[in-house]
Amino acid sequence: MLPFSKSNSNTSRFKGHLTDLVFLFPVLLLFTAIVVVPFINGIHISLTDWDGYAPEYQYVGLRNFLRVLRDPRIAGPVRNSLLYAVLTVVFDNILGLLVALALHRNTRSNRFFRVLVFMPFIISLVLTGFMWSHIYSDVFYKLMGIKSLLGNVRTVIPGIAIMSMWRDTGYASLIYLAGLNNISPEYYEAARVDGAGPMNSFFRITLPLLAPAITINVTLFLGWGLKVFDYVMAATGGGPGRSSETVAIYVYNYAFPYNQAGYGQAAAILMMAGIFIITAAVTAVLRRREVAE
C-alpha cells in the first residue's frame, strides 16, 4: 500500500491528491485530447449528414447506421476483414509455434536464427506491402511463372495474408519461445519416466501450458487482423477494383475521399462494436479453456 496516504489531515490529503494529479496530467491531457474527445465528437458526427467540410449539417438520427448495415457493398469488406483475420490468426500461430519449437534450445545457432526470423517485423507494414507486391509481380512470375496473387480477385486476400504472415510469424514465435521457456523441464522428465512419447508430451504438456501464450497471440492477431489497413493500402490500395477493401479502408474512403463524414463515422462505430464483440467472444472461449486445463 502506498505510504503517502497515512497522514489523516484534510489538507495533506488534498495535497496528496494534487500531487497525484500532477503525475497523471500529461497522460490524461494527451489521451483525452486525442482519443476521448474525438470519440465523443465522433458519436455526434455519426448522427448527422455532415460531409466533413461544410459548416452546415443536419441531424439524421440513426439513419447512417441503418444505411451502413443495409449497404450491399459492405459485404465485401466485412468478408475480407474476417477472412484475413482468420487466416492470419490461424497461420501466424501455427507457424509461430513451429518456429518456436524449432529454435527453442538456447544454442548460438538458434539465437542467430531467431534474429533472422524476427527481422521482418521491424520493417514498416507499408514497406512490407510494397516489397511483397513487387516480389509477387516480378520475382514469382519470373521464377515460377505464377501470376501475382494480388491481381486475382480470389487470391488477393490470401496473398496479403501471406505477406503479413512473413512479418508476424517472428513476433508470434518470440511469444511462444517465452512461453516454452516457462515450462519446467520436470514435466517432460516425469512424462518420459511414465513412457510418454514426444507426440504425447506435446499435446498433454506443452500445449496446455502454453495456453496463456496462445490467448495472447490469438487476441493480438485477431485485433490486428480485423483492423488491417496499412498492408492492403500499400499493396493493392483496395484493388483490384474494390475487391481487397477491408472494413478499415471502407471507413477511410467514406470519411475522406468520398466526403461522407457522418456515414463514415457511423461505419467506424459499427466496426468498433463488431471488433469488441468478436474479440470478447473469442477471449472468453480461450480463457475458459485456460482455466479448464
Binding site: D20, F39, I123, S124, K142, A255
Partner: protein, 280 residues
Amino acid sequence: MRGKVKGLSLRTLQFLLKCLMCSVFVGPFYIAIVYSLKSQEETIATGIAWPHRIHWENFTEAIRVSNFWNATRNSVIVTTFSVFVLMLSCAMASYIIARRERQYKIYQWLYYTFLAALLLPFQVVMLPMYVNLKTLGLLNTRLGLIVAISAFQVAYNIFVYIGFIRTIPVDMEEAAYIDGAGKMRTFWQIVFPMMKPILSSTLILNALTVWNDFQISLIISQRAAVRTIPLTQFYFFGQYTSRVNLAFAAFVLAMLPIIVLYLLLQKYIIGGVMAGAIKG
C-alpha cells in the same frame, strides 16, 4: 559409433532445415538489395542473380526524387520527441494508478478505460481527430504528429508499466516516506530507476512503432514538407511503380537504418518482446 554418426547427420539435417526456414524470412531482403543495385534493363533480364555492375546511382536518384533527407529528419524528430514524451508521462501516470488503485475506485476505472482503448480501432477517432487538429492548427505540423502518435501508444504503455510496477514491493518507497521524501522525489529517485528493464524494452518497441507509423501520419501530414519516411515511401511508389530498381533502392534506404539498429540492439529487442510476453 553408429549412434554418434546418426546423431550428427540428424543435427545437420535440422540445421539445414532451419537455414531453409530462415531463407524464407530473409529472402525478400536479399531480393530488395539485389534489385536496388541493378539497372532497369538488367533487372528485367536477370531476375534475382547478383548484379554484374553495381549501380549506386539508383540510390542517389531515389534520395533526390523522394526528398529522402527531409523525410528522415522528420522521422527522427517525431520519433525522438514522441518516445520521450510518451514514456515519461506514462511512467508517472502508471506509478500513481498502480499504487492508488486499491484505495480509490476511480483509478481502477482509469485502468479499465486504458484497457478498453487497446481494442479501439483508429478509424473510430480518425476523422474527429483530424477536424480537431485542423481547428487547433496542428495539421501538417510535426507537433501534431508527435501529439497524435504518442496519444495512441499511451494505452499500451500504461498497461505494461502498471503490470510491472505492481511487482515492485513498496518497502523502499515506505522507507523514503519515513525519511521525509515527497512523492516526486520518491518516484524519480527510487521507482523510476527500478523500472529500467521494462523501460528499455518498451523504449525500443515504442520507437519502432512510432518510426513505422502510417495510418496516423497519413491523416495528419499531407504536405510533403512534414512527411515521415513511411509516407514518403507510400507517395513515391504511387509515382514510380514502373521503375523497379529505383523503387527497391528507396526500400533499402528506408530499411537500412532500422536494420542496422536492430542488429546492434537485437539482444535487447528480442529480450524485450519475450519479457513482455510473460508479463502479459
